[in-house]
Symmetry: C2
Amino acid sequence: MSGILHIAGLGPGDDALVTPEVTEALAQATDVIGYIPYVARVAPRDGLTLHPSDNRVELDRATHALQLAQAGARVVVVSSGDPGVFAMASAVFEAVEREPAFESVDIRVLPGITAMLAAAARLGAPLGHDFCAINLSDNLKPWAMVEHRLRMAARADFAMAFYNPRSKSRPHQFAEALDILRAECGPDRLITFARAVTTPEEAFNTVTLGEATPEMADMRTVVIVGNSATRRVGRYVYTPRSAV
Amino acid sequence: MSGILHIAGLGPGDDALVTPEVTEALAQATDVIGYIPYVARVAPRDGLTLHPSDNRVELDRATHALQLAQAGARVVVVSSGDPGVFAMASAVFEAVEREPAFESVDIRVLPGITAMLAAAARLGAPLGHDFCAINLSDNLKPWAMVEHRLRMAARADFAMAFYNPRSKSRPHQFAEALDILRAECGPDRLITFARAVTTPEEAFNTVTLGEATPEMADMRTVVIVGNSATRRVGRYVYTPRSAV
């Protein structure tokens, strides 16, 4: 008896952004596993066991999901956004690497609308030219690497999207990130704080780097920094397709 | 009478990846505008006028869409993938910038599954850590800027996704891009050529930079280059969440 493990992206919050592929996988699932608020988005029904778990236990959660699928269950690991962007997909493959017996499990990643692209759509088209995505958390990498990547990204003149910009456990680092960006990009560069995108608590705040303060971001915020050509037109923010 | 202009992402090809939000916008539309193969994905029906147009007329197409919406139509501009990623959203805002009367048009961008994230999902999780997206076409920027961005991205140790890697009109540039990547990242770095993702013609080819040749890419290919930690596990390619 062989099960299947789907790693599914629920998008940023609005159910109108959940793909039919993900909806179908959830309809067929016997077990749904994930961080508490994401599992809470899945409606209970007969024949479905929900397994909500706390944050920062990604490897344990991945191993549990692989064990259930190995035993024949139809498992969906749910992530917010896209599972391949700073979410559960990498954690599952790390768990497979640690336990080669899991290589026989049928694993399929189902993409979703990731927060930066939902935020960009609401704003206009700030990521319409070359861009990068950086996780500002230093849980899994040294802060010096984040600083280096910010400098390289600024010198490449990428537009940038930042996930996990700020948490209570590291309040000073985002201030340092803003200092680096101001030094590299100047004070007039546009920066948008997009909070809880597509949910009832959605809020947008577009300012210049000179006006930006660390308190504008929290754990539910994705931050978008324009490139040197990003500008406002009407109520929108966009980056032209042409670099010059 | 005031219309509306939706700029909608159809995803990479499979209808199971079209969001319900986009499906609803198309169901309500009076006019659908876009590049011929994307408009061909929309079923004809009474009350809907399809406006297919050729490639490289993005600004004309955007202006036409804005004029129709201004006159009261419910217009959907369709893009493949996500309209905010190297697609029609920026072109529409460029058209608004040229003609301020268009600022009164209600414009809403509806995100979609962009090719790099669909390809990454099929592969495993190659974009599971910090990454960048670069359009390798020099239609709208100097090739020297592409080269500079490739070097900065390599020195940031970003995973990378390339759109429009190669076309008949510029056959030599992708070879130069591969040379830069080999010089910066070494010959063992993994690179995947993902063609026609989620369509019946889908094909994946993962090799090392040392093995990669320009002919492995064409206009329907998105290219994904790993960071220094990207590796294979079983039949998957993934980038660990940890940088070290």
